[in-house]
Amino acid sequence: MMLTCHWSGRRIQRYLDADPAAPLDVDEIRRLEAHLAMCERCKAAENEFRQINTALSRWAVHTIPDQKSVEHVRHFLDRLTSGDGT
């Protein structure tokens, strides 16, 4: 079990992210999910990483750019590509 926990621990974040640059293969996903179904400690780790991710994703509301800034950049883009000077 210790070896499997170690193996799983190294993959839980990639499993949750499902990032195209570092996907788990089908066998890894199957093996990891089987382990998470029977290991309380690793399941708890998965839940905690998931909760941290959810909490951090809420911070995104504070980094949504001000619409005024977006408009400024758009106007700047207009001037830049029309050669009007900036």
Binding site: C5, G9, Q13, R14, D17, D19, P20, A21, A22, E40, R41, C42, A44, A45, E48, F49, Q51, I52, N53, T54, A55, L56, S57, R58, W59, A60, V61, H62, T63, I64, P65, D66, S69, V70, H72, V73, R74, F76, L77, L80, T81, S82, G83, G85, T86
Partner: protein, 188 residues
């Protein structure tokens, strides 16, 4: 700021440039805020666009976001030579109390946990080494992919993954007492 056009700018080039840039303006502003601070983000993005426009005739049109993020990073390094490109501004910019327009609220259970974690999470993230913190913010807050974050930081994807993994592990360790108190369970 000085105007500069590609050597043989055409209407088609200008039109293509707009097609590359317009969908990425919000991402560029968000990432610029993460790398600097909200008040400098607009200047950084505008300077980035000037540089991108100068080199548009050498861009093949593939992966405009990655192209623009790379230029953003280089521009930021040039504008703030004394600031490392992988450091981040004040964390309070991320956890201020602006209203949450435009973002779907999480489910009730997550909402409760998010609320419980809030202050501790801020402390945990603040205590991270800036290299780790920036990787965490770019991916978990700004929602960049590993590859996009690698472009912004100028490091390989593997380095981003390593920094991200260590950042999250440290945050989780910091929050352990909160998790234990909330669930009544100790974990690995």
């Amino acid at each position: 700021m000085h105007e500069s056009e590609p050597s043989e700018a055409t209407d088609v080039q200008a039109q293509n440039f707009r097609l590359y840039v317009e969908p990425e303006i919000e991402v560029l502003l968000r990432v610029a805020s993460t790398l600097t601070n909200p008040s400098d983000a607009e200047d950084l993005v505008q300077e980035t666009l000037v540089r991108a426009w100068r080199s548009v005739d050498r861009f093949d049109g593939r992966h405009p976001r990655a192209w623009l993020l790379t230029i953003l990073r280089n521009t930021n390094m040039n504008m703030h030579r004394r600031r490392r490109p992988d450091t981040v501004a004040d964390i309070s910019d991320f956890v201020s109390t602006r209203p949450a327009f435009g973002v779907d609220p999480p489910g009730t259970e997550d909402e409760v946990m998010t609320s419980i974690l809030s202050d501790d999470l801020e402390l945990a993230v603040q205590s991270l080494d800036p290299k780790f913190r920036t990787a965490l913010l770019l991916i978990d807050v700004d929602q960049l992919t590993y590859s996009e974050a690698a472009k912004v930081l100028g490091v390989p994807v593997g380095t981003v993954m390593s920094r991200l993994s260590r950042a999250r592990a440290r945050v989780r360790r910091h929050l352990r007492p909160t998790f234990v108190a909330a669930t009544g369970k100790g974990t690995a």
